[in-house]
């Protein structure tokens, strides 16, 4: 019978492999009905926070029960057995460990610093209660998915692993890389720094684990107080003393390291030591909540796409109206992984601070493929609804196609308009039928006074779906002569220009 640590290691390999497999499968060629968003969906923090912002437990997020309910009985098994970021941190902490036993014992003792994650959790949940969803910044699953999509996978492709036909580029992707890098390097200085100090999901699971029946138990008669159990302790949960079950990741290292077999995982026995409760004072928690209440109106005082529509905030097809979108998007970047043209990009401050790393379309990078609806299929929270192709292109029973914005000509840059030169690439690539870009053959006079016949293009706003292929393929390379802005987007009743009788 292998020890529990060996079993945990097998699980860790399996779940990290599964995470990579799902991530790899999240593209047009490999998306064959696998539940590729499984890790994002079974995340209790996402489920709870999106419930607080919009009052529903959306579809796949019910899977979070698979994590939450066992946690009530077993403790934070998720952190060392399932969580890809936790597993990665564990591997790095293990292999970067250069400490002598005495130093290790010091580093692996519980510290009051570890309370920070509970305060972060409280703050994020209070904000969620007001409809501001910022858990995505720090949720470990969203964080590692985003980091892998925006930096690790493209980097692996550039190193020659052949994941993409052409490796994608991401707007400000270096910030995501930097955050991941800092968090991983922090493991060298404090074992599982992220998991112990910052992780809000770990904090949530910690809260739920405080009544768990099964936990690490120490036999006080057998124990010689040698502290060897601290040698590889991942959670910093004091197994040598009174166990802090809310911090324990169930890594099971201590069981193997105890020379006296004084530790076991399970129900209490006659000589088992008692545990310590959650180390968070009610008063502190209240202060944090008040902090959230104070922070909320200030957060809302910056200009956002929600307050007044912003031209460059063009959201993927099927996105909810901006306020609802921000209340559901966890910035996981799954949509950016599956997008075939690389048009979906992580926003920086285009839609306000709240919209950091949410998906926007940057049409010089790509364009929205007319018959593609993959982003909505992989979105775990339905910030981008899972629409059908018929709904997107407006085939029956749908009356109108989904519109992302409207294209506008810049006549000072457009070749037929400004330079008497034939072009109309935009008209050629326009995917709607009939085409939203039309032209009129016009006689124009060039500099030398010669008459020339050119086709000058126009946009028909009622037919334009804002897909951006015209902007993407425009031969004016740096700043296209036709550009899409968000006005006319189906999801907004406010962001419109043509009189259509809906106020």
């Amino acid at each position: 019978m292998p020890g529990l640590r060996t079993i945990r290691r097998i699980y860790a390999f399996f779940f990290f492999g599964l995470f990579l497999f799902f991530l790899f499968s999240t593209d047009f060629n490999h998306l064959k009905g696998y539940e590729v968003s499984l890790f994002l969906e079974m995340n209790p923090l996402t489920a709870l926070a999106t419930f607080l912002t919009s009052g529903t437990l959306y579809k796949g997020l019910a899977l979070s029960g698979l994590i939450l309910i066992p946690t009530l009985f077993l403790g934070r098994f998720f952190c060392s057995w399932v969580c890809p970021l936790g597993i990665l941190n564990q591997w790095l902490s293990h292999f970067a460990n250069h400490r002598r036993p005495a130093e290790s014992h010091q580093v692996n003792r519980y510290r009051p610093l570890y309370r920070i994650k509970y305060y972060l959790l409280a703050l994020l949940l209070v904000l969620s209660g007001f409809g501001v969803l910022q858990i995505g910044l720090l949720d470990p699953i969203a964080l590692i998915t985003r980091s892998f999509v925006l930096s690790v996978l493209p980097g692996a492709d550039r190193a020659g692993m052949g994941i993409y036909l052409n490796a994608p580029l991401f707007h400000g992707g270096v910030f995501v890389t930097a955050l991941l890098f800092i968090l991983l390097i922090a493991n060298r200085f404090l074992t599982r720094f992220w998991c112990r100090v910052l992780c809000p999901l770990g904090a949530l699971l910690g809260v739920f684990s405080q009544w768990s029946l099964f936990r690490i138990r120490r036999d006080i008669d057998k124990c010689t107080d040698c502290s060897k159990c601290l040698h590889d302790c991942q959670g910093g949960c004091d197994p040598h003393h009174e166990l802090r079950v809310t911090e324990c990741h169930l890594c099971m290292n201590c069981l193997e390291q105890c020379p006296e077999s004084a530790l076991h995982f399970g129900l209490p026995r006659a000589q088992s030591s008692v545990g310590k409760p959650l180390d968070v004072g009610r008063r502190r928690l209240l202060e944090t909540a008040v902090g959230g209440v104070v922070l909320y109106p200030m957060l809302r005082s910056s200009t956002t796409a929600q307050a007044s529509p912003t031209p460059e905030v063009i959201r993927p097809p099927g996105s909810l109206e901006e306020g609802d979108f921000l209340a559901r998007c966890i910035k996981c970047a799954a949509c950016m992984r599956v997008c075939p043209t690389n048009v979906l990009q992580p926003a920086l401050l285009e839609s306000g601070f709240e919209g950091l790393w949410t998906p926007i379309l940057i049409n010089r990078q790509g364009y929205c493929e007319h018959h593609c609806v993959l982003c909505g299929q992989v979105c775990p929270t339905a910030a981008i609804r899972p629409i059908s192709v018929e709904e997107k292109v407006g085939q029956s029973p749908f009356e109108k196609p989904i519109t992302l914005g409207t294209a506008f000509f810049d006549r000072g840059r457009c070749l037929p308009w400004a330079m008497q030169t034939p072009c109309i690439v935009c008209e050629e690539v326009c995917p709607t039928s009939p085409k939203a870009i039309w032209y009129r053959s016009t006689q124009v006079v060039d500099r030398k006074g010669a008459m020339r016949q050119v086709k000058q293009p126009y946009v028909e706003p009622s037919a334009c779906i804002g897909c951006g292929i015209c902007e993407n393929k425009c031969p004016v390379m740096d700043k296209a002569a036709i550009r899409v802005t968000s006005v006319g987007e189906s999801r907004s009743k406010k962001n419109r220009m043509i009189l259509d009788g809906i106020g």
């Binding site: 075939p340 007319h370 030169t421 039928s433 086709k455 031969p475």
Partner: protein, 334 residues
Amino acid sequence: MARRIIKRNRRELDQGRRFFLTRAGILSGSAALLAAGGYFTYSDQPLRHRAEPVADLPDFRVERSLHYPMLAIVRGSQVDAMVRQAVEKLGGIGRFINKGDRVLLKPNVGWDRMPEQAANTGPEVVGAVVNLCREAGAGAIWVSDISMNDPQRCFSRSGILQAVQQAGGEVVLCDKEDFRVANMGGDLLKQWPISRFVLQADKIINLPIVKHHSLSGCTLAMKNWYGVLGGRRNQLHQDIHTSIVDLANAFKPTLTLMDAVRVLKRNGPSGGNPADVARENTVIASLDEVALDSFALAFLGLTPEQVPFLSLAQRRNLGQVDWRSLHFSESQIG
């Protein structure tokens, strides 16, 4: 601990003749290396000149024969049989493909569209040609195009990926590294990056489809060569007729087989609405792209006078606009 410090602090003997000579030798050697490095890397240019090799395009045509027609028009309902018949009329696939040849098929797979929308060459036509090449003993059968939409979607949703795999060919997509600069030798196009598969193939078969095009009037065989270009090909619209002729001048295929089974009559070249598509049930094989394009104008209700690139091409001796003046065959099967 203490021992380590002593070791580290042990001093070298830093006086005497031997020390002076070895140290001076090492320093003079380093100085000479530095000077030599400076001498060999000195330049009056800020960057090193990186000459990209420029490839010459081979002529893929086979020898002319008076025995066989230049143009074979086949009408019918069974696409596979029509393709076979058309190639048979021109002398059979054995005239064009030798055992072991690496063959590149160049269908038009520009758009993320289904076969019924007729924006891409029909999968049955591509599959039939792959079969013919395989029967002729081709060493490799590559099917490639540089699509306007996402290439993986284009090949998959056009049905061409499945048809090619079933027939035993290989779809090869170009990434950024798969382009080589080639001499085009045209009036407008001098040097342009093209798909490396063109340069690596022994034989090329052009597989265009007949479509309406808003700027040039039509997309036929000659314009289909846009699809082997990389670079900023969207600039070619600025003088589309000269560009098309330059392309036809640069790329001389072994054989051209045109799909006019379904024809996109309006809203080209991307189409999308099946109402714009008409069935013409025709396949044409040809060794003269100008004659072929001229023949195909009838499907779109155009005359050669409305399509300037045809007469331009004839003036450059690329073929005959008056296709009836050539030896041609017309037949009907099934």
